[in-house]
């Protein structure tokens, strides 16, 4: 391997690593606030990419129907809760869960989706897929928010399976690519960089900085941080865990969909692509101990690089290498973080 190849591999690793880093951040965030190990994170990547592909091909995105379905369930659940609590006001809030998808579907029908500029198509994708995040929290996790981590993990896996199955129904077995944000190519010495790669890396950086600002500067961000540090304390201070959960899932879904939109021009995305992508983001998150954002991002970047180089040296063993190397990292993490058991 010469220096040039190493450079190209590094570039490839960083591009994938940037996506893994975004996902790792979302996973850390979700775990810190809700204790949910968010396996379906990867499905938001696939749903985002494939919904955009549908729109590009001028096909009505089937995910909009899922949004409506989720809205119906949320409304039913909320209505049930309201009736039991004897309240009235929330009825109005519940209505929004129906109204929003209905309006959106109407809008999608009336719009010439195929002729929208790319930015418009991306926006539509976000409008369709991202709200599923908080809805998912409401339906799947909120009823068992106090359950042990293990139960939440298994629920996550079940939700992941259901979403993959739905993905096959919506998008079919074949994959899609979307058109790149930029056709530019830059030659730097022996290597060249595509515009899309720069988009991926820069957008990831911007998102990471934006997240940092959100947590550091805004009231909602601070509320989430407070919840992550001490759930009960935050509740006493008037931060509703349900709101914190929905907000977190909104952010996680946003990050997932943006990741999907960013990578779908450089690779083919399938209905079941999300799992392995998410899992690798996960490995990064684990290296960060599901707690530290910068270490998680660095870990994810490392996974991307490891993957690029091992696919060069021993492509048949790539996954074996990536996933086996997690174990020593995990071991090191659990030996250096001192706390004698008794979670649950």
């Amino acid at each position: 391997m010469d220096f040039q190849i190493a450079l190209i591999l590094a570039q490839d690793g960083i591009t994938n690593g940037a996506i893994y880093a975004l996902l790792a951040l979302a996973l850390v965030l979700v775990f810190a606030v809700t204790r949910v190990i968010f396996i379906p994170q990867g499905e938001f990547v696939a749903y985002g990419a494939l919904t955009l592909a549908m729109i590009e091909n001028g096909v009505f995105p089937a995910t909009a129907w899922l949004l409506l379905g989720a809205g119906v369930i949320v409304t039913a659940l909320d209505a049930g809760a309201v009736v039991r609590a004897g309240g009235r006001r929330v009825m109005m809030l519940a209505g929004t869960h129906l109204l929003y998808p209905a309006l959106l579907i109407g809008l999608l029908w009336s719009m010439p989706l195929k002729d929208l500029p790319l930015i418009g198509q991306v926006l539509v994708t976000l409008l369709v897929v991202v709200p599923m995040g908080p809805m998912m929290y409401r339906i799947v996790y909120q009823p068992i928010a106090e359950a042990p981590v293990l139960v939440l993990l298994i629920v996550s896996v079940a939700a992941h399976l259901a979403l993959v199955g739905l993905g096959l129904v919506f998008f079919g077995a074949e994959g899609y690519r979307t058109s790149p944000f930029s056709q530019a190519r830059f030659e730097i010495g022996p290597m060249f960089i595509t515009g899309q790669t720069i988009w991926v890396v820069l957008s990831s950086l911007v998102l990471i900085v934006a997240l940092a600002m959100f947590f550091g500067r805004t009231i909602y961000g601070k509320a989430l941080r407070a919840t992550a540090i001490n759930r009960n304390g935050a509740r006493l201070m008037g931060i509703s865990p349900a709101l914190a959960g929905k907000l977190t899932f909104f952010l996680a879904a946003l990050i997932g969909v943006l990741s999907g939109v960013l990578i779908s021009p450089i690779t083919t995305i399938y209905y079941d692509s999300g799992f392995l992508i998410g899992l690798k983001g996960f490995v990064g998150a684990i290296i960060g101990g599901l707690a530290s954002y910068p270490i998680a991002a660095a870990g994810a970047l490392m996974v991307g690089l490891l993957e690029a180089f091992s696919s060069f040296w021993a492509s048949a063993y790539k996954e074996v290498i990536v996933f086996t190397l997690v174990i020593p990292v995990l071991l090191w993490r659990s030996l250096t973080t001192h706390h004698m058991e008794e979670e649950e």
């Binding site: 190990i37 799947v140 009823p143 068992i144 359950a147 981590v149 293990l150 139960v151 993990l153 298994i154 629920v155 896996v157 079940a158 939700a159 992941h160 399976l161 259901a162 979403l163 993959v164 199955g165 739905l166 096959l168 129904v169 899992l279 996960f282 490995v283 684990i286 599901l290 048949a316 063993y317 996954e319 074996v320 996933f323 086996t324 997690v326 174990i327 020593p328 995990l330 071991l331 993490r333 659990s334 030996l335 973080t337 706390h339 004698m340 058991e341 008794e342 979670e343 649950e344």
Partner: protein
């Protein structure tokens, strides 16, 4: 009075049904029952590992694969070296080989990943589950991704188990042996240690349980069950390739255990049965409703799992038993205490007045904060010493230095002349120091008797195999008799068979004393034993402690309740701001101005 049925009758009826099933059921149902049996065996391992031991594994399918591949390669390959080739002569030899390989791998993987705490462990299992799956596919000797065919059928007493209704009996015999092994294991000395892993590790270690070893034991057993399932699978399928051993199957096995009831041995069977039947049913039903275009099965399956976890987190087995109980009342398995069991050997107590505990100039700093400063105290056999002081005086920190949970910054603690620092809780327990906890630590779903019996862990020696195959009954009877004796002694006899979690808080503290006594200590450390007790109960406790003192045990009390302490103890040490401010007889101390000031907030 309703008639009550013994559980044995139900199990007998179940076995009978199993026996005749292949004769009366359509052949395809027998096929399904075979798969249920195979899956239940893996799920059974997960019940032990996850439901009972609290260790979640997504990687069991990989161990199934190891079992299946071991026998597939050994029985079909013609390219084996001579020293291995003899194994291929019979599937029974390859079963042995598979179990040995699996055990070795489980010990290797376990020693790497079982140290992972909390949620790292399930993620670690995902990692090695995926790694092994891809290894199966890349190794040419294992037939690569395409797989290995032509695996012979199993021969048993000259019969070839070729048809589904023939191998059926073998599969279910394996499963039932597995169920009874696990069942027996859990109901034993080792079993109590295993059951303490989930939420009681600190306590179990303090009672002398080697929790790391117990974790490894259940990990290996679960892997061996999976391996046996894989061996049967290979000889039933007579073809292996990597796809049945991937992560998705690992997930499915975990689902089976959880949906059936991960805490219950029979939950594995219910879960495996339910999932196989449900899938079969969905496969027929869903295409009829939605048409052929999609994987609706997995969607419905996912949704059902979410729903079950919302509504029945402990799985279906407890619900099922409750419902059955209404129709057919089954007698709860009642423990009998064999009062005639030979008492356990006792430690020879030091003669009264021997120096047991000697804390010398103990200082403990946390950063800039000095929690204990230059503390010294001594406890002799046959005396009760109270350590008292206002809130935040540093009593708990001192207690931790003495019990070996924490290590002093300077100074030392000697127990029977040996330094406590650097020894783990188990060793200290073995030396004869036993303790209770300020915040009660017990296993709420286990009976009072079993909780106390954990205290006697170090007084038994029968291991896993003896427990699994009931060679431990004599010792078990002695352990339980000892536990019962201690329970009677502390006055909880009427609650002996109740769930420990149903006791009042004060009673739970008493339970902890009984548990500590079951370890036959020479020094008893009690952390606020009287908190939450009513007057009568306090009197009884005081009486008990006096009796123990007369027997020659040394007792260190950390207490708030002055009335309780003053009438009971021989000497008192008073702490404030991490320092000793007074020491002496109760009467002297009570009149000490420094103590009065500390307790009354200073006399201006």
């Amino acid at each position: 009075m309703r008639s009550v049925i013994s559980p044995r009758v139900l199990i007998g009826a179940f076995m009978l049904v199993l026996l005749v099933a292949p004769a009366v059921l359509p052949p395809f149902y027998v096929t399904k029952l075979n798969y249920i049996g195979l899956y239940a065996m893996v799920a059974l391992g997960l019940v032990l590992l996850t439901g009972v031991g609290g260790l979640t594994s997504f990687g069991q399918a990989a161990f199934v694969g190891v079992g299946a591949y071991a026998t597939a390669v050994l029985t079909t390959s013609s390219a084996l070296p001579g020293w291995l080739a003899w194994l291929g002569a019979s599937p029974w030899l390859t079963l042995g080989a598979g179990l040995v390989i699996t055990a070795a791998m489980a010990i290797l993987i376990g020693s790497l990943t079982l140290k992972l705490s909390g949620h790292y462990l399930p993620l670690g299992t995902i990692a090695w589950g995926i790694s092994l799956y891809f290894l199966f596919g890349t190794m040419q000797i294992l037939g690569g991704h395409t797989g290995l065919g032509g695996i012979p059928a199993i021969h048993l007493f000259g019969f070839e188990l070729r048809q589904d209704n023939e191998i059926y009996y073998l599969i279910w015999a394996f499963l039932l042996v597995g169920v009874f092994t696990v069942h027996n294991l859990l109901d034993s000395r080792e079993g109590r240690a295993i059951r303490a892993l989930k939420g009681g590790m600190v306590m179990a270690e303090a009672m002398g349980v080697n929790t790391a070893r117990s974790r490894m034991v259940i990990f290996v057993i679960a892997a061996l069950l999976a391996c046996a399932s894989g061996w049967l699978y290979a000889h039933m399928q007579r073809f292996v390739n990597p796809t049945p051993f991937g992560l998705h199957m690992g997930i499915e096995f975990l689902f089976m255990a959880v949906i059936g009831g991960a805490g219950y041995v029979w939950g594995a069977l219910i879960g495996a049965g339910l999932i196989v039947v449900l899938k079969h049913w969905l496969q027929g039903l869903l295409p009829a409703i939605f048409g052929q275009s999609g994987n609706f099965e997995i969607i419905v399956f996912g949704v059902i799992m979410v729903f079950v976890l919302h509504k029945a987190r402990n799985g279906l087995w407890p619900i099922l038993t409750r419902l059955t109980q209404r129709v057919i009342p089954v007698r709860a398995a009642q423990r009998r205490i064999d009062a005639a069991a030979e008492p356990l050997a006792r430690r020879e107590l030091p003669i009264a007045g021997t120096l047991l505990l000697d804390a010398k100039n103990v200082t403990r700093k946390f950063g800039g904060l000095v929690a204990n400063k230059d503390m010294s105290l001594q406890v002799r056999s046959g005396e009760i010493l109270a350590l008292i002081g206002p809130n935040g005086a540093g009593k708990s920190t001192m207690f931790n230095q003495i019990s070996g949970v924490d290590t002093p910054t300077s100074g030392e603690v000697l127990f029977l002349g040996q330094a406590v620092a650097g020894r783990d809780s188990r060793e200290i327990a073995r030396m004869g120091m036993s303790r209770t906890f300020q915040h009660v630590r017990m296993l709420p779903t286990m009976s009072v008797l079993e909780n106390v019996a954990i205290g006697a862990h170090l007084r038994g020696s029968k291991g896993v195999l003896a427990s699994a195959w009931r060679l431990d009954r004599a010792e078990e009877a002695r352990l339980l008799a000892e536990a019962a004796r201690q329970i009677e002694r502390v006055g909880l006899a009427e609650h002996m068979f109740d769930e420990a979690g149903s006791l009042a808080l004060g009673q739970q503290r008493i339970l902890e004393i009984a548990r500590a006594l079951a370890s036959d200590p020479c020094l008893l450390l009690l952390d606020e034993p009287a908190a939450g007790l009513r007057y009568k109960e306090k009197q009884a406790l005081a009486e008990l402690l006096r009796k123990l003192k007369r027997e020659g045990i040394g007792i260190l009390l950390v207490e708030h309740d002055m009335d309780f302490v003053m009438g009971l103890v021989d000497r008192v040490v008073v702490m404030e701001f991490g320092e000793k401010i007074a020491e002496g007889l109760p009467d002297q101390v009570q009149r000490d101005p420094a103590v009065l000031e500390a307790y009354l907030g200073g006399v201006e």
